[in-house]
């Protein structure tokens, strides 16, 4: 059985297909149709809901796309929908602000915006314009041009975040905690189809051994598309979101270690401490809704050639700690990707943690090039980890996404950089060598020629930034 709170009502489900999304549940089972479907692919935010979880000693409110959230993942959480915000006929402050500032026109995207604004309201008392843009970048509006929505969100700054939810927080917190304690073995099934929720690495290994073809799902932000777009009906889904070992973050002198099921949002501050440009790029990975669910482990195991973290992890020489029935092993990420969506992950194996060595002598530059600044998939993602000695390159790791069938390093270019001055002249050979490293393809996002040209130009950008670190901003995003 899985148990969750639907607003303030407890829902217990035994019989339910593992591919049931929260959106489909809301609209077709619960008849709660305030939450809208705009795309069913996690790209428009019309279906945004808020999930409240007991974290530490309080509730943490986060917005997610209900269209790509599997219902089973709600176990032990509170699902807050737009219908729940009004209290005894009075609009919630975020709703009132949107009305007062003319933030809705056709109104179809509005419930999603309201929920993202509600999550912001509960998590940030004094949001800046940048905070608002971060919080709402995953919500598309086709009518307003966003200005009144930004004004509405900013009008709440400093107005406090005490609302009816604050008054109920302790009660909800204890209901959620009790729910999990009372139902440690959570699962649901529909015939042979099952949704399984292991609690630790041993249980996960046992389930994977028992169901070698099971789909392993963490955030599910890509996996869910196989359900909503390809209409697949997976038999066994194993959810990693409650596996304690996969949720750990550790930090030592030599490295940081991130559990495979840690969400992007939860790793953000640690990355910011050690790898600023990685953290800044993460702010443009998907949307906040996606980052609240998506994980490093999922991005790596998914092995998409356009995932944004593998190029960075390649440049940083990350190590994947993998567990399978054959035992535990450590795989350097450079050996992990073997072909288009193919990896060296052993059968019934899974990534437990990702370890990133700390090498402060190396400078990391991460660039994400896409059509749109917010919530877009990269045409090219580039990560350069460079160590200089007296202006000469001693070490270079160049990781790229969007340039080949897998995330890949530019080995020829790395070689060409070595022992060269890191100057416009010094990188010329490396720029040329990129053409040997990659023959990128034309697709809907960009042409191969553009990708290669940009990859070459990004090396120059890194040189100019290195030579001139503070004088002049070199990226348009810095004017955002």
């Amino acid at each position: 059985m899985i148990r969750f709170l639907m607003n303030d009502r407890e829902v217990c489900l035994d019989h339910c297909a593992p591919d049931m999304t929260v959106l489909e549940y809301l609209r077709t089972k619960a008849e709660q149709r305030g939450t809208k479907e705009g795309c069913a692919s996690g790209d428009c935010g019309a279906c945004t809901v808020v999930i409240a979880e007991a974290v530490g000693n309080r509730l943490q409110y986060r917005n997610v796309n209900s269209c790509i959230t599997l219902l089973g993942s709600l176990h032990g959480k509170q699902l807050v929908t737009v219908e729940h915000l009004k209290l005894q006929g009075a609009l919630h402050p975020v709703q009132q602000a949107m009305v007062d500032l003319h933030g809705s026109q056709c109104g179809f995207c509005t419930p999603g915006f309201i929920m993202s604004m509600f999550a912001l309201y509960k998590s940030c008392e004094l949001p800046s314009r940048a905070d608002v843009e971060q919080a709402l970048a995953g919500n598309l509006c086709r009518c307003t041009g966003y200005r009144p929505i930004i004004d509405a969100a900013l009008s709440l700054a400093g107005k406090g975040s005490q609302d009816a939810f604050s008054a109920q927080e302790a009660v909800i917190y204890s209901r959620l905690t009790k729910m999990v304690q009372q139902s440690p073995q959570a699962s649901m099934q529909d015939g042979l189809h099952q949704f399984l929720i292991p609690r630790n690495s041993d249980e996960l290994l046992a389930l994977l051994t028992q169901h070698p073809n099971a789909k392993l799902v963490a955030g599910g932000t890509d996996f869910a598309l196989s359900i909503t777009q390809q209409l697949q009906q997976p038999e066994v889904v194993i959810y990693t979101g409650r596996v304690v070992e996969l949720l750990q973050i550790e930090e030592s002198e030599e490295s940081i270690s991130i559990g495979a099921a840690v969400s992007y949002t939860d790793m953000q501050s640690l990355l910011h401490k050690h790898f600023v440009s990685f953290a800044e790029m993460l702010e443009r990975l998907g949307s906040l809704q996606v980052r609240n669910q998506g994980t490093l482990g999922g991005n790596i195991a998914n092995a998409s050639p356009i995932g944004d973290t593998p190029p960075v992890l390649l440049a940083l020489d990350a190590i994947l700690h993998v567990r399978s029935p054959a035992g535990r092993e450590s795989l350097p990420i450079r050996e992990f990707f073997t072909g288009y969506r193919q990896t060296k992950l052993p059968p019934s194996g899974f990534i437990e943690t990702i370890e990133i060595p700390l090498q402060p002598e190396r400078i990391l530059n991460v660039y994400k090039i896409s059509k749109r600044l917010d919530d877009d998939i990269s045409a090219v993602c580039a990560a350069f980890s460079i160590e200089l000695q007296d202006g000469v390159v001693r070490h270079a790791r160049l990781g790229f996404g969007g340039m080949a069938a897998t995330p890949a390093r530019a080995l020829n270019a790395e070689q060409a950089l070595k022992d060269q001055p890191f100057t416009e002249q010094g990188i010329k050979a490396a720029q040329q060598a990129l053409a040997q490293d990659f023959s990128p393809i034309d697709d809907v996002r960009a042409s191969g020629a553009y990708r290669l040209q940009v990859a070459q130009n990004l090396l120059l950008r890194a040189v100019l930034e290195q030579a001139n670190p503070s004088d002049e901003a070199l990226e348009v995003v810095q004017y955002a």
């Binding site: 077709t28 795309c39 009305v99 179809f108 086709r142 307003t144 041009g145 009144p148 059509k371």
Partner: protein, 787 residues
């Protein structure tokens, strides 16, 4: 000003008649998830859900089709094929060419072939995938220039001329020629296409459809079912966005659902998943345009030969009027003394492109705005100086290529005011300076104007009806032919009726647009919603006001002229006696006065003789101008719009908040069209940008931080409703300033000598290519000047 009369302490301050920033009538419902869209209605018991099977190829024939696995799929109840249609099978909006389903010839990828209904939407969608269809594939026509060369058209070409372009071109001191490709645009209404059809008596049906044109859906459903129009009722409360995409192309799904209701005797809902919606429905027309333009050393145009060619897709749909409107706007704000304009309607094997905010106008304007920049670079002037020099002016410089005089022209004054308020001159100088020392990043600034003609160019559409009921408690129900898609039409209508009756707008309830309340309506399109329906509603209100006044005059024995409606009360005689509007309603009812009236309106003055390409197609023009500033990365082609200043003419604003919403929303949508929104078909004619992961409309941080929007408030000189002006489409074209600013930034790398070619959408890739081309051209020019 309104005459505000003291009415005692109990009287509520009545605001919210026209001119006030009243909130959207559904705002409180929108934010609470309580606004009901078609897909949110609780379906009647037994409703079936449809999914459409469509062609995977762009051109050819169906060789064989095996749907047995579809029929056997879980939950499937029935399948609809072309042969099941009892009546008309062609549902083309104006011209034939849009078969509801095909059983043989395929003209585009996404062409509907069959419809499955099942107990759930998921089951229907899964069943569609079981179809086995074999096609005989032929090479599709996908290129607009190829179609133009082959003269493969969906409708005949149209030509306009004024003066003698050829002679003027030959005699002009300077002459330039250029071509451009202007990309199309997906509507991306957040609510996809949807219809729910419920069986009614006598072979009739009740159709809930997310449509901008309920009357057309009604007519087409009746034709498909082969029943009189009076059996069909279409109900439309609100759309989750339309933008033109639900003008003609909402009908197909309603017709399919209706045919399935006939077949299954059960209610049927068809809602298109996003990818299906983007694959099966038409978009803004991509255009291929050319100009040949002659001018003097100052940049004053002497002659112009302009060609616009719309990529219409496989059928005519609304393309005739769309390409006409592109031609009507190929002059934009500029007087072209000797001009010829040709407009072609090219046929390609894609979805049938359709109405989209601006309706061809934006694509037509792009060619003349390109020319303005190009002329400026050629004569070494700032583009704004060339634009101002060529504006329509006084007599002798006020005739359009279609021979309508430009009257009440506000543009020069409006532009000069914006130039001041945006500090254009100083910023331009500062940017030029900045660009000289910034190696990688380049900034650009541009001011572009808009002059947009208001009226349907198909004359008979310029009419509207409204129906008002006053009930005995004084509450009012208003219904009119327009549809609400977020633009605030209902809000403005409430304000108009409230103003006409001098009552509290809160007393007015607007109900769903229904074909059984107001018949034979025009689409809510061409920015006309308020102009037409507002006047009709006002006329209905004035009829009722007159009846009540007459009743009071008769029974209170006073002159009718003395009956005065003010602030929710009615005064008569010496104005010392009064009653509330509610009491007056009851009083009139008890004296057997009808409290229900229809109002009607048709636009005066307009005509167009298409054979001669002469006339006055537009009742008036709406004007505006925008200044945009951008910053471009010459290493990657990435860019950012950092500042926008807008001054826009809305006449006397009925609702400044709603008008500002239209201006800002239109601008950002236009910016998306010209920048990140890229439609890509592969070489087989399949749409690759078929979802929001690959098709990028502006997101929140694309909204510029500096975004100053001013209303150029001046009463419309024509007799429009309270002298307001239409505002739906015109602001869309203000975004051309963004494209022009990008060209300005790129031009800086040639010290403003080269006018960079930059087709749209100006994606980072196109911008980077333009940077490289400009650099190359500048080098060549330098080489030439040195040798």
């Amino acid at each position: 000003m309104r005459n505000l009369k003291a009415t005692g302490s109990q009287a509520k301050q009545i605001g919210g008649a026209t001119g006030v920033a009243r909130k959207h009538e559904s705002a409180a419902k929108h934010v609470a998830g309580e606004a009901v869209y078609v897909d949110d209605m609780l379906e009647p018991r037994g409703t079936l859900y449809g999914a459409v099977g469509y062609s995977s190829i762009a051109k050819g024939r169906i060789a064989s089709m095996d749907l047995s696995a579809v029929r056997q799929s879980d939950g499937v109840v029935d399948v609809l094929l072309l042969d099941d249609i009892p009546g008309h099978t062609d549902i083309g909006a104006v011209f034939d060419g849009d078969p509801i389903l095909t059983s043989d010839e395929i003209k585009y990828q996404g062409q509907p072939i069959f419809v499955v209904v099942a107990d759930t939407e998921q089951q229907a969608r899964r069943a569609v995938k079981q179809a086995v269809i074999e096609f005989i594939e032929e090479a599709p026509m996908l290129d607009v220039v190829e179609a133009l060369t082959a003269k493969q058209f969906v409708r005949p070409s149209h030509y306009m001329a004024h003066g003698d372009a050829q002679v003027a071109l030959e005699n002009a001191p300077k002459r330039l020629q250029a071509e451009q490709h202007v990309g199309g645009q997906e509507h991306f209404y957040l609510e996809g296409q949807v219809a729910l059809v419920v069986p009614a008596e006598d072979g009739g049906m009740l159709v809930y459809s997310s449509t901008q044109h309920p009357s057309e859906v009604q007519k087409l459903v009746a034709e498909v079912l082969n029943v009189p129009v009076n059996r069909i009722t279409v109900d439309m409360r609100r759309m989750g966005g339309g933008f033109g995409g639900k003008e003609s192309q909402a009908a197909a799904w309603a017709c399919m659902a209706a045919a399935l209701v006939l077949k299954t005797k059960r209610p049927v809902k068809i809602r298109l998943p996003r990818v299906d919606d983007m694959t099966m429905t038409g978009k803004r027309h991509p255009f291929y345009n050319t100009y040949d333009i002659g001018f003097d050393e100052q940049g004053l145009i002497q002659g112009a030969d302009i060609m616009v060619a719309g990529n219409c897709g496989h059928s005519a749909d609304l393309s005739d009027a769309i390409v006409d409107r592109a031609m009507f706007h190929a002059d934009n704000a500029y007087y072209l003394p000797n001009v010829s304009i040709a407009g072609h309607r090219c046929m390609t094997n894609t979805v049938s492109h359709t109405a989209f905010r601006g309706f061809g106008g934006p694509q037509g304007m792009m060619i003349i705005e390109r020319a303005m920049d190009d002329i400026a670079r050629a004569v070494g002037k700032d583009p704004l100086d060339v634009r101002k020099l060529n504006l329509y002016g006084a007599a002798g410089r006020d005739t359009t290529p279609y021979h309508q005089k430009v009257e009440h022209n506000l543009l020069l004054e409006l532009i000069e005011q914006l130039e001041q308020s945006s500090n254009y001159g100083a910023r331009k100088a500062e940017i030029r300076q900045w660009n000289q020392t910034s190696r990688v990043l380049k900034r650009g600034l541009a001011l572009t104007p808009v002059k947009f003609g208001i009226s349907f160019t198909l004359q008979h559409l310029n009419q509207a009806g409204a129906l008002i009921h006053i009930y005995t408690d004084g509450s009012i129900q208003v219904n009119h032919g327009g549809t609400e898609m977020g633009q605030g039409l209902h809000t403005k209508i409430i304000q108009i009726v409230a103003e006409a009756l001098a009552i509290d707008p809160d007393e007015i309830q607007i109900t769903a647009t229904r074909t059984d309340k107001v018949p034979n309506t025009s689409p809510t399109a061409a920015s006309s919603g308020t102009d037409l329906n507002g006047q009709a509603a006002r006329n209905a209100a004035l009829i009722l006001k007159q009846r009540i006044a007459k009743c009071i005059a008769e029974h209170k024995e006073c002159a009718i002229e003395s009956v005065c409606f003010t602030e929710g009360r009615i005064y008569w005689g010496d104005q010392d006696e009064s009653m509330s509007f509610a009491d007056a309603a009851l009083f009139a009812y008890e004296h057997r006065v009808s409290l229900s009236a229809t109002g009607y309106y048709k636009t005066p003055k307009i005509w167009y003789d298409r054979d001669k390409a002469k006339g006055r197609p537009f009742f008036y023009f709406a004007y505006g101008a925008a200044v945009s500033e951008v910053i471009v990365d010459t290493l990657t082609g990435e860019y950012k719009v950092v500042g926008v200043d807008i001054l826009h003419d809305v006449g006397r604003s009925l609702n400044p908040a709603v008008d500002r919403g239209q201006i800002e929303g239109g601008f950002i949508q236009g910016m998306g069209w010209l920048t990140t929104e890229e439609l890509k078909w592969n070489d087989k004619g399949a749409l690759m940008s078929n979802g929001p992961a690959t098709y990028k409309i502006p997101a929140i941080s694309d909204t510029p931080k500096r975004f100053n929007v001013g209303l150029f408030e001046r009463a419309n000189d024509e007799e429009t409703v309270y002298h307001s002006k239409a505002v739906g489409e015109p602001p869309f074209m203000l975004a051309i300033s963004v494209w022009s600013a990008l060209r300005d930034a790129i031009s800086s790398i040639s010290d403003y000598r080269i006018s960079p070619p930059l087709d749209t959408p100006a994606t980072p890739e196109r911008v980077l290519n333009a940077v490289m081309v400009t650099r190359e051209l500048a080098k060549q020019q330098e080489g030439r000047s040195q040798s």
